[in-house]
Symmetry: C2
Subunit: 327 residues, 2 copies
Amino acid sequence: MEKPYVIGIDMGGTNTKFGIVDARGHVLNSSSIKTQQYPDIDEYCDVLCAEMMKLVEVHGGIDLIRGVGAGAPNANYYTGNIENAANLPWKGIVPFARMISDRMGVPCRITNDANAAAMGEMTYGVAKGMKNFIMITLGTGVGSGIVIDGKVVYGHDGFAGELGHTKIERGSSARLCGCGQRGCIEAYASANGVARTAQEWLADGTKKSLLRDIKLEDITSKDVFEAAMKGDKLAKDIFEYTGTLLGQKLADFIAFSAPEAIVLFGGLTKAGDILMQPVVRSMNENVVRFWKDKVKVLFSSLNGSDAAILGASALVWDVDAQAPMTV
Amino acid sequence: MEKPYVIGIDMGGTNTKFGIVDARGHVLNSSSIKTQQYPDIDEYCDVLCAEMMKLVEVHGGIDLIRGVGAGAPNANYYTGNIENAANLPWKGIVPFARMISDRMGVPCRITNDANAAAMGEMTYGVAKGMKNFIMITLGTGVGSGIVIDGKVVYGHDGFAGELGHTKIERGSSARLCGCGQRGCIEAYASANGVARTAQEWLADGTKKSLLRDIKLEDITSKDVFEAAMKGDKLAKDIFEYTGTLLGQKLADFIAFSAPEAIVLFGGLTKAGDILMQPVVRSMNENVVRFWKDKVKVLFSSLNGSDAAILGASALVWDVDAQAPMTV
């Protein structure tokens, strides 16, 4: 009998979520552990696998599990290693896929979180049936997963798709990004970027805003969204600015791979139309003539909390995969 | 017997060159016609095919020819059509691959000139054996051919790889590009871009330069190169500036597809080290940390005059091709 289930892991700097997924993209059950609670990687893997086995037992045992897919920061798809991840407790190179498959007795394959999201979108979401699209994740940072000819692009070394670190501004006045460079789109179009814009504009300007009721350093992108929904001019202008910059970069990305669609995913997309409208306008103003009004911009259709688990699980269903699974 | 030869066509706005190529990348013989001399596309195809047949007869006749590959402006790989090419005499959509195969009685496949150059480099040049590289053509304009997993990227519509029209500057002071947008790298890092930089700097500045001996509007990139070779400070600064901007964009391109190498091709590469040095420095200053000093920048190893014919011919040898050949 074909094994009917896979396990998806969504490893973040704070939480590690995991669940059992069937071939139709239903998360049958799920659970989580605290990533930072385990400074020792062996202990982390022991606890994670023990917790996953509890879920597995509920659904008929490990013989029904085809494999494990994981989305994790700095995960190298080719090697199965997590390499020098700044936001995780374990330094250097961690052979994560190997450590999981050794403990679970089933194959494991890993990739970074944005690539996992792209896999999930292609397997279960709005990109189902699309051969060429770009996934942009707008969360704390800006990530990307690029799909060409039905395959996620990994490049020569496994790390392709770092579009969050392409530049929207240049020179010494451009914003410093967490990566050490200046002017990356991540420093502007992420949730953090929106908060920074608010802080800069409120510090410099004298314009009235509901945001002045909040302590400057405590302002979040959610606060800016809520103020905009109440009609606050400054807050609306911040989304207009953010969307304009993001749309300019999307025009550049289109020139690379001529996608059918760009799919936006992550916390910032909750802003809806006040983000989408300037993104689409700016993208079409900046794109090469023959792509004008031709490339769709879509919000992810995957349920936020399950999307990353689904995406990671999709790694296991991928029969055309370019990387082997550990066994 | 396997048919041993293919025909490669390099269609430019001025000349159409063509030649017979063997499997080792030798151009056995070649010839050309004037593109602009034939405002009627049927007449152009009649003359072109008659001239190609003359070459074919010298090498044993059409039964030894496997097919025809053509590199042409605005060529759509998927459809075999040339679509709305600004620099060609024929307007609208020209079913070029079909017109050639009908006349020659062998299959035909077409792509744009930069993609053809990438195919040529992968089949016969410095990118032989590479699975992931980006070809940047620095000629009158800036073109690109992107290779991922051993395949040229065509995207959803067949027009992927327009990196010359990604932006290096933004806003109303950025240079106007031939495409109608402002700030495209093509307006700076092409042969025309180098000439424009010289004209702008000479018009604005008071610095001494050998270039002042030439009428401002007649200055070419070749003049700038020759002045730089004679030690002219302004001319050297122009190449420093050009290379710096190009390197900044290459860093963005690396973040997309994580290539093993970037291959530079075309007239401007004759400048050699005075272009290469600032390109490599600037690229490594601007790239995401983990790619620093890891991505090779190479000059094309193909003989300039044969490269485009070789590249176009490589389309026919491509057994994994994503597009059908006309038959």
